[in-house]
């Protein structure tokens, strides 16, 4: 009886502290995976926390952060597969490489942040994922490896390659904008 009460207390404490520490970050991360669909991202994160409420604290207490990211990531990928948004990622890569930006669209995206995010969307999904986990969530290679199931060495390689491609895409985009008189 005592053990059960203790577990109840522990899981409640775990949920409360995790909510405080990771809620916002998880919504950001999941939204990124879902192409900026904030509503779906919130649903996914809520679902993950509800799932956490049902876990045995013995199994999640020491890795709750990775656990939450993994649950959100898996669910987001399920949604992506379901909605076939996955393919849009790959299509967008060719699109941005082959087409010049629409001037009005460029005006909307004149800020650097928007530019960076647009180009990030053009990276392969696994690279986008590690970039988000590293630069948005500030997770360590080890944590990213746990969440993605990829070795830490491979994480380093994916990040390295992602940054180079991202920079190349940004430079290409800026060159195109410059040749057309600039976005603003």
């Amino acid at each position: 009886m005592t053990g059960t009460a203790t577990k109840s207390d522990r899981i409640r404490h775990l949920v409360e502290t995790s909510l405080r520490d990771y809620e916002s970050a998880l919504v950001h991360y999941t939204s990124g995976l879902l192409n900026g669909d904030w509503d779906s991202a919130r649903d996914v994160v809520q679902e993950a926390f509800l799932k956490l409420c049902r876990q045995d604290p013995d199994l999640v207490e020491n890795n709750v952060k990775s656990w939450l990211y993994t649950v959100c990531r898996n669910r987001a990928y399920d949604l992506l597969r379901r909605d076939q948004r996955w393919q849009m990622h790959n299509d967008a890569l060719e699109h941005i490489a082959q087409s010049s930006p629409n001037p009005s669209e460029s005006a909307d995206r004149s800020d650097t942040g928007r530019e960076v995010l647009d180009c990030l969307q053009c990276l392969p999904s696994n690279q986008q994922d590690v970039v988000r986990l590293r630069f948005q969530q500030n997770l360590s290679y080890r944590e990213i490896a746990t969440i993605t199931g990829v070795s830490t060495g491979q994480i380093g390689f994916l990040l390295h390659d992602a940054m180079r491609r991202l920079r190349g895409l940004l430079e290409q985009r800026r060159r195109q904008e410059a040749s057309q008189g600039g976005p603003s």
Binding site: R12, S31, Q46, F49, V116, Y141, T152, R167
Partner: protein, 459 residues
């Protein structure tokens, strides 16, 4: 410790790598770099900063209502384990029974032993707990009953007809006690109403259990669930039945839970020497949920308005007959108790505490009590077994693929049935769940199910 570097065969940019490693380790990336590389590194550092800043843009955070729902669920962490195979639990400390009850119990025990009741761990008449329970029910017989259970957010009402005409109540066993005064036990679910229709479902071709063409009619949800084989453990040596209970998330309504109940008949012919084929007859199961943990529930596939296929009139119902090695499966959807409780929940809670003996030493994590009544071939005696299921019993959980496949089957059938409460769940979700939990599938039934429904989807 340095972060793990990429593989040496890749064409690394030393400045980028230095920046990435410094971000990981917190060191100074400029160390050991040439002036040209430092200039390059500053470019990478700027990009990393822009990236982090851009990725953190946006509203973030959950809606207030979502956060409140989580905190509420955390305050009532009903399901701490995914597995909950049942084992009879030791009886709690309780007050000594009056002498006349012990005398009657001893006499009943002698009779039971003479009749060969050794297979049954808990039998009526020799179990003081069962006697007390019946006694208390009798004392409560003047209480009004609360059997109309509103399904939160849905137009679902508990099938009160099943309760009012509970066939077990007319058999004179423990659940019948008090019916004369209008009292019905908190136990509402009567699987004996279900199982006669299900007993043949395992051998019915799958195509016959689905509407033809698929999508044109209703599906028999309970029969479909029954059609598949699940890995229930065999009864222990000398036992006629094993009872398995597994809790887990409800795929179509994330806040709810499913309770998968399986009864497996022994395939040991020595148990029933009078007949080598028939294992158990007239099997009845009642499930009584703990209202402290469960605020509402339904037996999946048996909504208030859903007719039970080929069901005889309630008064003529008898239990199921199970052949050796056969099993029965039922799935409940339950609503974990939230902070807002209506008065009937409180009343049921008080009743549960009496019947389950919570206030006399039982653990508060008891999810349900199951009562199984059955007979064996060639014997008139009705065996009665009572088992308390704890949330924290997780000795032999049902394999996850079994649990989730059965949930997927239930979801598919409910969707085909256009059952209420499924508006946020799609057939694609259910099929994806089924596909990812197909498991070993030795008889190919699971694959056939997916094929049939996928064919429907594509058609």
């Amino acid at each position: 410790m340095k972060a793990t570097l990429p593989q040496p065969e890749t064409n690394l940019d030393p400045a980028l790598e230095a920046v990435l490693c410094a971000l990981e380790d917190g060191g100074d990336w400029r160390e050991d770099l040439s002036p040209d590389s430092i200039a390059e590194g500053e470019e990478w550092e700027t990009l990393a900063r822009e990236l982090g800043s851009a990725l953190r843009m946006g509203p973030g955070g959950l809606e207030t209502s979502q956060r409140e729902a989580i905190l509420s669920a955390a305050s009532h962490p009903v399901f701490l384990h995914t597995g909950a195979w049942t084992k009879p639990v030791p009886e709690p400390a309780r007050a000594p029974a009056p002498p006349y009850r012990w005398i009657a119990g001893a006499a009943a025990a002698m009779i039971a032993l003479l009749l060969g009741a050794r297979h049954i761990p808990v039998t009526w008449g020799i179990n003081p707990a069962a006697w007390d329970l019946a006694f208390e029910k009798r004392q409560e017989s003047s209480e009004p009953s609360f059997h109309v259970r509103l399904w939160p957010g849905e137009n679902f009402v508990r099938n009160t007809a099943n309760v009012a005409h509970n066939p077990l109540s007319s058999k004179g066993d423990w659940s019948a006690v008090g019916t004369g005064g209008g009292f019905q036990p908190t136990a509402m679910a009567n699987v004996s109403e279900v199982v006669p229709a299900l007993a043949s479902a395992a051998d019915t071709p799958l195509a016959d259990l689905l509407p033809a063409p698929i999508g044109a009619g209703r599906a028999s949800t309970a029969a479909l669930i029954q059609h598949f084989r699940y890995s229930y453990p065999a009864p222990e040596s000398g036992e006629a039945l094993s009872l398995s209970v597994q809790t887990g998330p409800c795929p179509w309504r994330p806040g709810n839970q499913l309770v998968h109940v399986g009864i497996q008949a022994s395939s040991d012919p020595r148990l029933v020497p009078a007949s080598k084929s028939l294992a158990v007859r007239d099997l009845r199961l009642l499930i009584d949920f703990n209202p402290s943990l469960v605020s509402a529930y339904r037996l999946v596939g048996y909504g208030g308005s859903e007719p039970i296929p080929n069901q005889p009139p309630l008064g003529q119902l008898r239990g199921a007959d199970l052949l050796a090695g056969q099993s029965i499966t039922a799935i409940y959807e339950i609503v974990p108790t939230g902070p807002a409780k209506s008065s009937w929940v409180e009343r049921d809670k008080a009743r549960w505490e009496k019947t389950a003996g919570v206030n006399r030493g039982r653990a508060p994590d008891e999810l349900l009590v199951s009562r199984i009544n059955y007979r064996l071939p060639g014997r008139d005696k009705e065996f009665k077994e009572q088992t308390f299921v704890h949330l924290n019993d997780s000795k032999t959980p049902l394999p996850r693929d079994d649990f989730e496949f059965s949930a997927a089957v239930a979801a598919c059938a409910l969707l085909l049935d256009r059952a209420p409460g499924m508006q946020h769940y799609r057939m694609e979700d259910a099929l994806a769940l089924a596909r990812s939990n197909i498991g070993p599938d030795p008889d190919g039934r699971r694959a056939e199910f997916i094929r049939l429904l996928t064919g429907k989807k594509q058609g």
